[in-house]
C-alpha cells in the first residue's frame, strides 16, 4: 500500500468542500483525478501530501518516498538555477540532506533527466525555459527521488499534444516497469482513459466525489452526464 485514505474530508478552516473520500493506491496503479476547474482537485492533492490540514478522516502515506510535480513551480525566476540544480534537489530525502556529498553521487539524477527528456537542458537557466520545459524539469526533479508514489498536479497543462502524450507514455512505462504508483490531476480525458487504472471525479459545486476503478467510474451516470461515453472512444493502453 502506497497511500490509504479513509473518509477524508478536505476543505478550509474546518469546512469541508467535498464529500468524504476513501481510496487506496497500490503499486502499479495510475489514479486519474479529474473534474471541472475549481472542483477541489488541488486542495485534495495538497491535503494528501500533508501541505494542508484535513478537515476530517485519515491519511496513511506509508514509508516510501513520494514525488510531487506541482502545477506551477515556486522556483523564483530571479534566483539563478539551472535545470541540473533543480533536479538534484529532488534527490534529497529526510535527514539525508545533512550528508554533504549525497546528492552528487546519485545516478538517479541522470536517469530522471533522461525519463523526463531534459538531459539537453541540464545547463540551461530555469528562467530561460518555456513553460512546457519547466514542467518536464519538475517531472525530472520528482523522479530523481526514485519515488514509489508520484503525485502530479496538471503536469502537462503547458505542453503541446505531442509532449503531453510523451509524458503520459513515460508515466505508463514507469508504472509498468517499476510498479510506480501514480496520482495525476488532468483534464485530458482521452489520455486518462487510455492510461488510468482508477479514477477520482470531483465537483465541489455538486458535492460530488466519485471514486473507483476505471470501468466503474467511466460507466457511472454522473461521469457520463459530464463527459459522455469516454470508454467508447478507445480501450486502455497495454
Amino acid at each position: 500500500m502506497l497511500l490509504q485514505i479513509r473518509e477524508l474530508q478536505v476543505g478550509y478552516q474546518s469546512r469541508a468542500i467535498l464529500p468524504p473520500l476513501t481510496l487506496q493506491v497500490e503499486p502499479g496503479q495510475l489514479w486519474a483525478v479529474t473534474g471541472p476547474n475549481g472542483a477541489g482537485k488541488s486542495t485534495f492533492l495538497r491535503t494528501i501530501l500533508g501541505l494542508q490540514q484535513q478537515v476530517a478522516g485519515g491519511i496513511e502515506r506509508g514509508t516510501s518516498a513520494i514525488g510531487y510535480v506541482p502545477q506551477r513551480s515556486e522556483v523564483d525566476p530571479a534566483v539563478p538555477q539551472r535545470v541540473i540544480d533543480l533536479v538534484r534537489m529532488g534527490v534529497e530525502r529526510g535527514w539525508r540532506v545533512l550528508d554533504p556529498l549525497a546528492a552528487r553521487r546519485n545516478p538517479a539524477i541522470q536517469a530522471a533527466m533522461r525519463d523526463a527528456d531534459v538531459t539537453s537542458l541540464a545547463r540551461i537557466q530555469w528562467r530561460r525555459l518555456s513553460e512546457g520545459q519547466k514542467q518536464r524539469a519538475l517531472l525530472a526533479q520528482a523522479l530523481a527521488g526514485e519515488p514509489a508514489l508520484l503525485v502530479l498536479d496538471e503536469p502537462t497543462s503547458a505542453m503541446d499534444m505531442h509532449a503531453e502524450a510523451s509524458v503520459f507514455a513515460v508515466l505508463e512505462r514507469l508504472r509498468a516497469e517499476r510498479q510506480l504508483g501514480v496520482l495525476v490531476i488532468s483534464h485530458h480525458l482521452a489520455l486518462l482513459a487510455r492510461y488510468a487504472t482508477h479514477f477520482v471525479l470531483l465537483d465541489k459545486d455538486e458535492r460530488l466525489a466519485l471514486v473507483g476503478d476505471r470501468e466503474t467510474v467511466l460507466r457511472d451516470p454522473a461521469f457520463i452526464e459530464r463527459y459522455g461515453q469516454v470508454l467508447d472512444r478507445g480501450g486502455r493502453h497495454g
Binding site: G50, V79, D85, G94, V97, S130
Partner: protein, 335 residues
Amino acid sequence: MVDTTSFWASWDLFRDAALAGTFAGAMLGLLGVYVLIRRMVFLSAALSQAASLGVAAAFWAQVQGAPAWLATPTLGALGGTLLATGLAGIPDRTSRRDGLLGAIYLVGAAGTLAIGTKIVQELQDIESLLFGSGVAVLPEDFRIIAWLALTLGLVQLWLHRGLLHVSLDRDGARIQRLPVRFLDFVLVLSLATAVSVSTRLLGALPVFAFMVLPALAALDLAQNPAQALLLSALFGAAAGLGGYWLAFSASLPVGAAQTLVAATLVAVLRVARLLFEWLQSSLAHRRHDALAHQAHEHGPECGHEAVAHGDHLDYLVDGHLHHPHDGHCDDHGRQ
C-alpha cells in the same frame, strides 16, 4: 583626496577593525542570499535596528548602575535581536507581517536615538551604532566575530543544501520530509547571532547593507544558489575591507563607506554582466551566421532542443531560437 599609501602604512593601527569588517561582510553577505531568496529584506533591517536598541539599552543600564558583566553591549544586541525575531514570528491574522517588521524597525531606531539623548557621555557610541562610524574594535570583540564567522562558515558548508532547499521550495522540502523546522531554526539563529554581534561592532547601517547588496550582486552573476553563497561572501568581505580603505583614504564614516563600496560593487558587476551578455550574444550571432548552417540542417533528429514559438517550431542553439524555413534560418532572439 584618496590616499592609498597611508592606508597600508597605518595598517597595524586598525588591522583588527578592518578584519572585523571583512569577517562581518563575509558572513552577512553569505546569509544575505537567504534573506533575498526568502524575500525578508525588511526582517534584516528590523533585526539590525533591534540590535542597536539592545546595545543602547545596555549602555543606559550601565549608566544607571547595572552590573557591567550583565549589561554588556553584545548581550544587549543579542537580546534585542532575539526579542525582535520572536515578535516577527508571532502569527498575526489582523495585519500584514511587513507592518509588524516596520514597527520593530521604527521602535528600534527611535528607541536608540531616545536612549542616546539620555546618556550624553555615550553619544559617540550611539552614533557609531546607527551609522557605523566607529573605527576601534577591542581584541575580545575581534575574537568573537572571527570565531563566529568561522563557525557560520562551517555550518554553511555542512547545511547549505538543506537551507537552500527549504528557502527555495518549502512545499517540496516538506513532501521530501526534510527537517524543515530544524533548518529554519539554524538559519534564524545564524541571522540573530551574526546581526547582533556585527551591529555591536559596526553599526546598523553597514550590517543592513552587507545583508542586501553583496547578495544582490551575487545572485546577478551566479549560475546557481550555491555559487551565489560563495560569491556573496566574497563580495561582502571585499565591501567590508574596501569600506575601511575608502573611509581612511577619503575621510568618510566607516559604515557609510562600506555601504557605498557594496553598492558600487552591485552597479559595476551589473554593468559587467550586461556587457558580457551583449558580447556573448553578438559572438553567438556571428558564429550562427558563419557556421550554423554550412553543414547543419535543423530537424527532429538534429540534436538541438525543439521549442514551440508562436505558430511554429524553433531550435535552441546557444540560447538563441533558430527558425529554419524556406531554405534559410532566422535567429528569433534569445529564448
